[in-house]
């Protein structure tokens, strides 16, 4: 079914620039054979939507260290409005438990907390990409 590798956009929205997590995850997914689109931090929400659409990614991985996850629901709305509901969004970083529920309700597929294994993240990205392809084929 999948003829080309999963394609994932790794990015950060909001105001924080701590990007160790996003860089480590991006390089691991790339070496695991996935196609990775990587951006510097502080992307605007419309820029992320545009990039996801142009690059036709399967998954968007958002890294958040310093409360930027609070604006992820705005990104989810913007993706829906752009007709990109099929792109799975995952969030990794410092997300308090109470906020995790808020993100899942907003449509985020999965939240990875500190201590998550790189293999575990790669497996989830692969699974979400396969699921998207299965629907769209």
């Amino acid at each position: 079914m999948t003829t080309h590798p999963p394609k994932v956009l790794i990015t950060k929205i909001g105001f924080d620039g701590h990007d160790r997590g996003s860089r480590v995850v991006a390089s691991f997914l790339r070496d695991a054979g996935m196609e990775v689109v990587y951006t510097p931090p502080w992307q605007d929400i419309p820029a992320v939507v545009k990039l996801a659409m142009e690059e036709d990614v399967d998954v968007i991985g958002l890294s958040s260290l310093a409360t930027d996850h609070l604006i992820v629901p705005k990104l989810m709305q913007a993706l829906n409005a752009a007709g990109l509901k099929d792109i799975a969004v995952i969030v990794g970083g410092i997300v308090p438990d109470a906020d995790e529920s808020m993100l899942l309700e907003a449509g985020v597929a999965k939240v990875f907390h500190p201590g998550s294994g790189l293999d575990e993240i790669a497996a989830e990205v692969g699974r979400l990409a396969d699921a998207r392809r299965a629907v769209s084929v």
Binding site: R23, F28, I94
Partner: protein, 559 residues
């Protein structure tokens, strides 16, 4: 009768060292070689055979070159380290209440962390309102700064401003001091985050202005402080960002020293004499849980800096040789899993910094891997320092681990490792050029990845993450309350009212002066930043003008 004779014959054949070798090998069947985070092989035992240094030339006395044992004669015995906790939350009023509370609990110096919107150089009405004040105080104007520091005697309290290029928060503080009638020459503290190279390399948070502009403003700032703020430290060279981003302790120390060399060379190129600016250089480091490695890192760094200032820059004033540093316990080492374990980690990290001879310390709260720290977590962090100082008496003896075969051998090996990385940077043309080429970025990225893989493979234990896990439910801990939206709306409304009532002509003139200075190398940009703050310009307006004139910087990302 001849039994003792046999024994002495036996010992004549085998030395104590050989006997230990044999017995160690017999009892530890498969001793695996271990390496510290910087890649130095660690032996099971260190003896006089492992250190051949000379006490006077390699260690010496505290307060004397080569400074291995500390930069002051009395070190913590004479004056304990400064307890400097980072705080910043919500509105200036919220911040002020928390600050006065921390001072009452024993914090001896002010530290101000602004909201990330401020770090990025935008005012509160330019950003996502949901994020305002969630990670620092929203301070945009001189009025806000005045509120933040209400009840704080600016002539007597050292203030650390987390304030990158163009140092707008310091400008707001100076404007506040002038309003209060406080003489600027009495103002003391540090421009934390003045190290634009570390931001460019490792923590893109504050990267507001393109590299050449940032380079010029830093030197303008140093020059201004030299003339007007004799008690202010304009330069804090930051290894913390790089180590948090994944650099090994040796790499972080090497890059930091290389950045300091770059700034010193830039000052010298401006015609300043080394002894006029070097005494005000300070450093800021991360302290990981790798106890002995961190102690050796600090001792080695101190020795190298003492040598560089004397030999490379020809500094003659001993104050130029001193490697003054602030340490912050590493947040990356903290875990979300079983978070109370973090109290133990922070204690070990703090001990490493104290034994390493730091001048000022921030201990992280145990709950930082869960969210911004709560007041409860912050109190434990402060008390960890109080316990180490007053119950464990870590201030009693200067450099208590000096002379340990292990510590001295490791200090030498870390020094070699650090010098090797510094040579790579030198070969690339110095830190500014190396950063433009992405060299430190690449090395840090590789080290971060390799450390993560060591955790993934179980080579590096992280308790609660890849070993000793327990089933944990969702934490029942109260998340830090986010700023009250009502209060934040009022804060924004007051901000807009402030902008409407100030003298628009004065603001415009100051902005024009700032823009002109940005395009005129004979002028001091920071002096114009201070004038703009005094004229009522907001922090975001000052940043916007300089961003326009000097260009917005794009980070060079190396994945």
């Amino acid at each position: 009768m001849n039994k003792p004779l046999e024994a002495s014959k036996w010992s004549a054949q085998e030395t104590g060292a050989e006997q230990w070798q044999r017995e160690f090998a017999a009892s530890v069947a498969s001793d695996k070689p271990t390496c510290n985070r910087s890649g130095i092989a660690i032996k099971p035992l260190y003896t006089p055979q492992d250190w051949h240094g000379d006490y006077a030339t390699d260690l010496g006395y505290p307060g004397q070159p080569p400074y291995t044992r500390g930069i002051y004669a009395s070190m913590h015995r004479g004056r304990t380290w400064t307890q400097r906790q980072l705080i910043g939350l919500g509105t200036p009023r919220d911040y002020n209440a928390r600050l006065l509370d921390m001072i009452a609990q024993g914090t001896t110096a002010v530290s101000l962390i602004p909201c990330n919107s401020v770090f990025r150089g935008y005012d509160m009405d330019e950003v996502h309102a949901e994020l305002l004040g969630t990670c620092g105080v929203v301070v945009n104007t001189v009025e806000h700064m005045d509120q933040c520091l209400e009840g704080v005697d600016l002539a007597r309290t050292s203030c650390a401003m987390n304030d990158p290029t163009p140092f707008g928060l310091l400008a707001l503080m100076l404007a506040t001091a002038k309003k209060r009638g406080v003489d600027w020459s009495k103002i003391s503290g540090t421009s934390n985050q003045s190290d634009y190279l570390s931001h460019f390399v490792a923590n893109h948070m504050f990267f507001r202005i393109a590299l050449p502009g940032a380079r010029r403003i830093l030197i303008d700032h140093i020059e201004f402080c030299q003339q007007r703020l004799p008690n202010w430290n304009p330069v804090s060279v930051v290894g913390q960002h790089m180590q948090q981003a994944g650099a090994t302790p040796a790499e972080a120390m090497a890059f930091t020293l290389c950045s300091a060399i770059q700034y010193a060379e830039d000052c010298a190129a401006r015609g300043m004499a080394p002894d006029t600016f070097l005494p005000r250089f300070t450093f800021f480091f991360d302290i990981s849980v790798s106890l002995f490695e961190e102690i050796a890192k600090f001792r080695a760094g101190r020795r190298i800096w003492g040598r560089i200032t004397r030999e490379r820059f020809g500094a003659r004033d001993p104050r130029s040789w001193r490697f003054k540093f602030h340490g912050q316990t590493s947040g990356v080492d903290l875990t979300r899993q079983q978070p109370l374990n973090n109290i133990a980690r922070v204690t070990i990290q703090a001990m490493a910094g104290i034994f390493g001879g730091l001048q000022s310390l921030h201990t992280d709260a145990y709950d930082e891997a869960l969210s911004c720290p709560t007041e409860f977590g912050a109190r434990i962090a402060v008390n960890t320092q109080n316990i180490l100082r007053e119950e464990a008496h870590l201030t009693d003896v200067i450099d208590p681990l000096g002379g340990s075969y292990y510590i001295e051998a490791l200090t030498d090996e870390m020094e070699q490792k650090i010098l090797a990385v510094m040579a790579q940077v030198d070969a690339a043309g110095g830190m500014y050029r190396a950063v433009e080429q992405g060299l430190p970025q690449k090395m840090i990225g590789e080290s971060a990845r390799s450390f993560q893989e060591r955790i993934g493979s179980g080579q590096q234990t992280v308790v609660g993450v890849n070993a000793y896990q327990v089933e944990e439910g969702r934490s029942d801990r109260q998340a830090l309350p986010t700023p009250d939206p009502e209060k934040m709306r009022a804060h924004i409304a007051a901000f807009q009212a402030y902008k409407a009532r100030r003298s628009q002509a004065a603001v415009q003139a100051a902005q024009d002066g700032l823009a002109a200075a940005a395009n005129d190398p004979r002028q001091n940009i920071f002096a114009r930043v201070v004038e703009a703050a005094e004229a009522g310009c907001t922090h975001g307006e000052i940043c916007a003008t300089l961003r326009r004139e000097l260009g917005f910087g794009q980070p060079l990302i190396v994945v």
